[in-house]
Point group: C2
Chain length 313, copies 2
């Protein structure tokens, strides 16, 4: 465990730096990586971001001003990567050569020469904001965009329990530094593709209540995805639908996968424990948000879930 000042000194002393994100890159890992890369480039260093998997197009505008640089790597930083397996396709090449790991997950289990984890930070982008100030870099509007994106996506726009006073203070500063926060929130939270909406329309029809209205479930099947013309990895934000319903303690979202299983997302309100529920099926996670995988056809999977919910609620 190192401190932020040492992390900054390390980065200042290096010139050719690679920054790794976690796989299925989200707004926080990308915003953190792009913000750090832009800052290092502004210091005259060579820097580039190496993602695992291709980021969704909605993040593209964040790297508009990033220079593509070719160089021999000298120093490797990971941002927002909580465990080696989350390096995805980069695990083999990078797993044992990471020099500096920066993260906000308290459970961080990375191997790296130096590790800086700040579990109180709502997003890794909050740590990167502090690191950039420590590096003595200016927060340009482009860098502000990246950090704001990391913070707003990881906090559900200042709603999730990880949000702190500090989160709002940083947001205030990023706005004054020129972050295009309206565009970011529109792109990250509002705009839906016609295909996503078509799928949601079908998903709403699958809604079922069980356990006297204390459990609600929705599902997607491969046929539904095909009918809506949407790829599985393009589907967003379904898991919160059943949990939002008044009186529902446990909201389940079932997604049929190509391998004959269903991926289950469990979301709970006060009075139910998602990790406990998913534990019954070999899964786990947080008390309010967990997941598991169950093999079988839709009816079998549903009835196993309903039975488990009945025993728990």
């Amino acid at each position: 465990m190192t401190d932020l000042k040492t992390a900054a000194e390390l980065l200042k002393s290096k010139d050719n730096i690679e920054i790794l994100t976690h796989h299925y890159p989200d707004g926080d890992t990308l915003g953190s990586a792009y913000a750090l890369c832009l800052s290092l480039q502004s210091m005259g260093k060579n820097a580039r971001v190496v993602t695992s998997g291709v980021p969704a197009h909605k993040y593209d505008f964040l790297k508009d001003s990033m220079k593509m640089q070719s160089f021999e790597r000298e120093f490797v930083v990971s941002v927002d990567v909580a465990a080696p397996s989350l390096l995805g396709e980069n695990l083999e090449e990078y797993g044992e050569i990471i020099d500096l790991c920066i993260d906000h997950h308290g459970t961080n289990s990375m191997q790296a020469t130096d590790i800086y984890v700040e579990a109180q930070a709502a997003a890794s982008a909050e740590i990167i904001y502090n690191l950039i100030l420590e590096l003595g870099c200016e927060i340009t509007p482009e860098i502000a965009n990246c950090i704001y994106t990391g913070i707003s996506t990881d906090t559900g726009c200042f709603r999730y329990s990880n949000t702190t006073s500090r989160t709002h203070e940083i947001a205030a500063d990023l706005m004054s530094k020129g972050a295009d926060w309206q565009k970011i929130n529109a792109v990250m939270f509002e705009i839906k593709s016609k295909e996503q909406l078509h799928l949601e329309r079908m998903v709403y029809r699958t809604l079922e209540y069980h356990c006297n209205g204390k459990m609600a479930l929705i599902y997607t099947t491969l046929d539904m995805l095909k009918g809506a013309g949407i790829r599985d990895d393009e589907v967003e934000g379904l898991a919160s639908i059943p949990k939002q319903i008044e009186g529902v303690l446990l909201g389940l979202t079932l997604r049929e996968k190509e391998d004959g299983t269903f991926k289950i997302s469990a979301r709970t309100n006060e009075g139910a424990n998602a990790a406990e529920f998913c534990g019954l099926f070999g899964g786990g996670g947080h008390p309010a948000a967990s997941g598991c995988t169950i093999a079988g056809d839709l009816d079998t999977v549903k009835s196993r879930l309903i039975k488990a919910a009945e025993s728990l609620l």
Copy 2:
């Protein structure tokens, strides 16, 4: 036009104060009124809130610690009321006896002895926050709840264009003062009744695209409301659905009313003007959000709207 210091001095000099909200009271008018009332009561004054129309139950917890006091009114304050007509059922009794009007609508047209309008404030609750500090009152957790509610509901949880750096700074302070912001955001933005969800399920099925996908519309009918078991005034948040779809410039929501008309909400993205569109039907509003009313049956109303959209887009 007075200033905040004078407004505070006025309030300090009075003992029996009534606070008016606008009709169909929302989170900002209620949060502002309750916060001011709690502060005045904490100063040993008599104070009460007079709403126009019964507030939705979800706001009830904000006044848990408010004392019910009976007294002869000496001083009347309106908060977040932009025009006399918005006093609703209280217009006749209070229209000409308001001593102090506090608001954040630049278009304010109230009659009052003293008026304090701060159009840069994202919410009236932001002004009340400053006023309470000016009064020398402590921001208790209960008062922080009221102000946070006003701010978060009027900014769509820090997303709408009225949000400023100052908004975030105040939110940071309210969190540190003990605001139960997680509960507030859950109650205000997440929890939906089973009836609301049932209606949404039906509404999704009504979605139509026109003008090569640049216009999208959804509708509710009286039959649909009846089928879902929901009252018209309980329906929330439908207007944003069609506007969120990728490629849609103009999103229309049609709601059938008891009097044989349809109330139209128009929401636009860059490239279309909702006020101009609604102006064609004698309505108006803001460039991004406007409304109008059209008489006729669903098919007639729809085809008039589609024709107008075709001419405009």
